[in-house]
C-alpha cells in the first residue's frame, strides 16, 4: 500500500483510513460475490434436477461458453464507466460503428481474392482501423465528459445518437456480410473444447480485473466514482482518468465488435440494440454500485453466468426466451430487495445509506459527484 500512499497527500487521518478501507475492499474481494455464487449454484442444481439428462452435460456448458462473450465484453464496457460514477450508453453504437468500418474494409476495400500475406495484411489493417475509431470515440467521449461536467448519461446519449446516425447514413440501414474464414474462426473454433471467443473474454476480464484492482489507474477510477471533487482536490488529474475510462470502455466495444462480426458473419447499424439495457442489468446484478465507486469484475462474471444459465435452462425446457428475459428483470429486483432488507448493502458508508433513506431515487444520480455542489450554486445565483 505504500506506493499509493503519497497521493493521499496531506489528507487527514480519517480519510487515509477510509482510503485504506477502499483499497482493502478492492483487494479482499469480499464484496457480495458469495451470494451470487449461491444463486448460481442453486440455478445449476435446479436445472440439473429438472433436466437430469439434458442439462448437466459438457455440450450445454460449451453452448453457454459460445453465448457469454458478446454480452460479457459489452457488460465490461458498461461496468468500467459505471464504477467511475458515469455510464456509457454508446457502447452498442460504438461497437456497431467499429464493426461496420472493419466490415467495409474487409468486403469492399480488400481485393476479394486476397490470400496468405495479403489477407493477413488487410485483416490487420481492418482490425487496426476499428481499433483507431474506438480510441478516437473514447477520447472524445472522455474529453466531453471531463470538460463539460455534464452527466455522462447526456453526453453518451448524444454520442450514441451521433454514431448510430453515421452508421445509418453510411449503410442506408443495410448490413454488410461475408467475411474471411480467418475471422469467423473467432466464434466457431474451440481450443481444448473452449470456444476462442470465450478464451478472449476470460483473458480480457482477468486483465480488466487486475487493471481495476492492482494499478494506480484502477484505484483512481474507483475514487472518482466515490467522489470526483475530492479526488481532484487530492491532486489526481481527473480529466485524464475520465478519458482513460471511456477509452477502455470503447476498446472493449471494439473487441465485442470483432466477436459479434465473427458470430453473426455480418455487421450493421442496428445489431444487438437490445443488449444495451441488459449490460446495465448484468453490471448492477454483479454488484456494481449504480452510484459509482464500487464494483468488481468477479461479481459481473458470476452475474453473466447466472443470466446465461437462466437463458440456456429455459431454452432446454422449451420455455419462451421472453420469460427468460422477464426472469432476468425479476432476479435483478430480487437481488436489490435482498440487499436492501438483509441490511447488507455492501456499498456505501453508513452516512450515505442514511442519506439514501431520505433521498430514495435521486441520490448522486445527477452530475458526477457534483449534484450537491451544483444545487447550491443554482439556489445561490
Amino acid at each position: 500500500m505504500r506506493h499509493v500512499a503519497p497521493w493521499t497527500g496531506g489528507a487527514g487521518r480519517g480519510m487515509t483510513a477510509q482510503f485504506d478501507g477502499l483499497v482493502a475492499a478492492l483487494r479482499r474481494g469480499s464484496v457480495n460475490v458469495g451470494g451470487l455464487l449461491v444463486l448460481l449454484a442453486a440455478l445449476v442444481g435446479l436445472f440439473s434436477l429438472l433436466m437430469p439428462t439434458t442439462f448437466p452435460r459438457v455440450t450445454t456448458l460449451q453452448a453457454m461458453m459460445f453465448q457469454v462473450p458478446e454480452l460479457g465484453l459489452l457488460s465490461l464496457a458498461m461496468a468500467i464507466p459505471l464504477i467511475s460514477g458515469g455510464i456509457n450508453l454508446a457502447i452498442i453504437a460504438t461497437a456497431n460503428s467499429a464493426g461496420l468500418l472493419m466490415a467495409w474494409i474487409l468486403t469492399a476495400v480488400m481485393p476479394p481474392d486476397a490470400g496468405g500475406a495479403t489477407l493477413a495484411f488487410w485483416m490487420a489493417g481492418a482490425l487496426a482501423a476499428g481499433l483507431l475509431l474506438c480510441v478516437i470515440v473514447g477520447v472524445m467521449t472522455g474529453l466531453l465528459v471531463a470538460a463539460l461536467g455534464v452527466h455522462p448519461i447526456l453526453v453518451t446519449l448524444g454520442t450514441m445518437t451521433l454514431l448510430h446516425g453515421f452508421s445509418i447514413y453510411f449503410t442506408r440501414g443495410r448490413t454488410l456480410s461475408g467475411f474471411p474464414d480467418a475471422l469467423i474462426l473467432v466464434s466457431n473454433e474451440t481450443v481444448w473444447g473452449v470456444p476462442i471467443s470465450f478464451v478472449i473474454f476470460t483473458v480480457v476480464a482477468v486483465i480488466t480485473h487486475l487493471l481495476l484492482t492492482r494499478t494506480a489507474l484502477g484505484v483512481r477510477i474507483h475514487m472518482i466514482g466515490s467522489n470526483l471533487e475530492a479526488t481532484r482536490f487530492s491532486g489526481v488529474d481527473t480529466r485524464r482518468v475520465l478519458v482513460s475510462v471511456y477509452v477502455m470502455s470503447s476498446l472493449l466495444c471494439w473487441l465485442a465488435a470483432v466477436v459479434m462480426m465473427a458470430r453473426f458473419n455480418s455487421a450493421g447499424a442496428d445489431i444487438a440494440q437490445s443488449y444495451l439495457l441488459i449490460t446495465i442489468l448484468a453490471a448492477i446484478l454483479g454488484g456494481v454500485d449504480p452510484y459509482g465507486g464500487f464494483g468488481r469484475i468477479v461479481g459481473l462474471f458470476v452475474a453473466l453466468w447466472i443470466l446465461q444459465m437462466i437463458a440456456s435452462g429455459f431454452n432446454l425446457m422449451n420455455i419462451s426466451p421472453h420469460l427468460a428475459l422477464a426472469s432476468w428483470g425479476f432476479i435483478l429486483l430480487f437481488v436489490m430487495a435482498v440487499k436492501r432488507f438483509a441490511g447488507s448493502l455492501h456499498f456505501g458508508s453508513r452516512t450515505r445509506r442514511a442519506r439514501a433513506d431520505l433521498d430514495p431515487n435521486s441520490g448522486r444520480s445527477g452530475g458526477i459527484g457534483e449534484a450537491n455542489d451544483r444545487r447550491t450554486t443554482r439556489s445561490g445565483v
Partner: protein, 332 residues
C-alpha cells in the same frame, strides 16, 4: 461577454427559442412549402405521440427520477384496449379507462419499487421494462391486432379547413389530445401545490421530506402520471397506424428522454418547464421537416439529432460552469 452569453444561453428555453427562430427563417427562405399551414399541422401530428410521452417523462425527470419503462407501458396499455375492443367488443370508454388504469398501475409499481428498494429509478425501470416487455410479448405471442374498431382507427377531424391552394388541413384527434396533455401537464406542474412539491422533491429530496412533503405520494403521482400519459400515447399511436403491436414503442425510450432533456429538463431533478419540452420537440420536428424539404437524405437525420444533443448539453454545461464560477467568486 461570458456573462451576457450565459444570461442568454443559461436558460435552455431561450436558446431553443432562438435556434427555432433562426431555423424557421432559414427554412422558410429556402423552401416555400415550409411556412404553410398544412406543413405545420402535419408536423405537429407526426410528433404528437412523442410530445405526450415527453410530457410524462418531464414530470418524472423534475421529480428527480428517470423512467424508461414507459415505452413498455404504452405498448401494453395499447394492446389491452385493442384486445378488449376487438375480442370482447368493449365500447370506447371502458376499454380506454381500463387501459389508463393499467398505465397508472404500471407506473405506480415503478414508484413503489424505487421508494421501498431505495434503488436509483433507472435501475428499477430497466428491470421493470424487461419484465413488462417480456411478459407482454409472451402473453400476446407478438401478434398484431389489425381490426381496430371504427371509433379508434377512423381519422376524425375536429376542424376541417381548405386553404387557398386547395390543401385540406385537418385538426385530428392526436393533435387535440397532445394539446390537452401539454396544457394539463403545464397546469399540474406550474399551478398546483402538488406540482410545486414535485419540483421541491427533485430539487432537494432531503429538504423536501423534512418540510413534510410525502415523498412516496409525490413519486406515485409522478410515475403514475407518466403511466397514464403512456396509455394516452399508446392510444393515439395505434390510431395513427391502424394497428396495435406489442413492440409498437420498442426503442423509443432514449429518443423521448433525449427530447425532454433537449428541452431543458435536467437529470438532477427540480429543473425544467413544459414550455421548454414543447420547444425541444418543435426544434427536432422542424429540423427533420426542414432537412426533408431541403432534400437532405433522411438517413442523415440521426447525425443531426446527435449533434443537436451534444451542442445543447455543451451550451448548458458551459453556462452552468460560468454560473458556478461567478457564484464562487462572489462568495469568497
Amino acid at each position: 461577454m461570458p456573462r451576457a452569453f450565459s444570461v442568454v444561453f443559461g436558460r435552455t428555453e431561450t436558446a431553443l427559442a432562438a435556434a427555432i427562430l433562426i431555423a424557421a427563417v432559414i427554412l422558410s427562405l429556402s423552401s416555400p412549402y415550409f411556412l404553410t399551414l398544412p406543413n405545420f399541422v402535419n408536423l405537429i401530428e407526426a410528433y404528437s405521440v412523442t410530445t405526450v410521452l415527453a410530457a410524462g417523462v418531464f414530470v418524472v425527470l423534475v421529480s428527480g427520477g428517470i423512467d424508461i419503462s414507459f415505452a413498455a407501458t404504452a405498448s401494453a396499455t395499447q394492446y389491452l384496449a385493442a384486445y378488449l375492443a376487438t375480442s370482447y367488443g368493449f365500447p370506447a370508454v371502458p376499454a380506454l379507462a381500463l387501459a389508463a388504469a393499467l398505465g397508472v398501475a404500471m407506473g405506480s409499481i415503478n414508484a413503489l419499487l424505487t421508494y421501498y428498494l431505495r434503488v436509483v429509478s433507472i435501475i428499477v425501470t430497466i428491470a421493470t421494462s424487461s419484465i413488462y416487455y417480456a411478459l407482454l410479448i409472451y402473453l400476446t405471442n407478438a401478434t398484431e391486432i389489425y381490426n381496430l374498431p371504427d371509433w379508434w382507427s377512423n381519422r376524425f377531424a375536429f376542424v376541417r379547413y381548405v386553404t387557398a391552394s386547395d390543401d385540406v388541413v385537418k385538426i385530428t384527434l392526436p393533435i387535440v389530445v397532445m394539446v390537452a396533455a401539454v396544457v394539463l401537464t403545464q397546469y399540474l406542474m406550474a399551478h398546483t401545490r402538488i406540482g410545486r412539491q414535485v419540483y421541491a422533491l427533485g430539487g432537494n429530496p432531503e429538504a423536501a421530506s423534512r418540510i413534510g412533503i410525502n415523498v412516496l405520494g409525490v413519486q406515485l403521482l409522478a410515475y403514475g402520471y407518466l403511466g397514464f400519459l403512456a396509455a394516452v400515447a399508446g392510444f393515439i399511436q395505434a390510431g395513427r397506424v391502424h394497428q396495435a403491436v406489442p413492440t409498437a414503442m420498442a426503442g423509443q425510450e432514449l429518443n423521448v428522454l433525449a427530447v425532454a432533456i433537449l428541452g431543458g429538463a435536467s437529470l438532477v431533478g427540480g429543473i425544467g418547464s413544459m414550455g421548454g419540452v414543447v420547444l425541444g420537440v418543435l426544434f427536432l420536428a422542424m429540423l427533420q421537416n426542414g432537412l426533408n424539404l431541403l432534400g437532405v437524405s433522411p438517413y442523415f437525420f440521426g447525425v443531426v439529432i446527435g449533434l443537436a444533443i451534444l451542442i445543447s448539453i455543451s451550451m448548458t454545461g458551459y453556462a452552468e460552469k460560468h454560473a458556478r464560477r461567478r457564484h464562487v467568486a462572489r462568495a469568497s
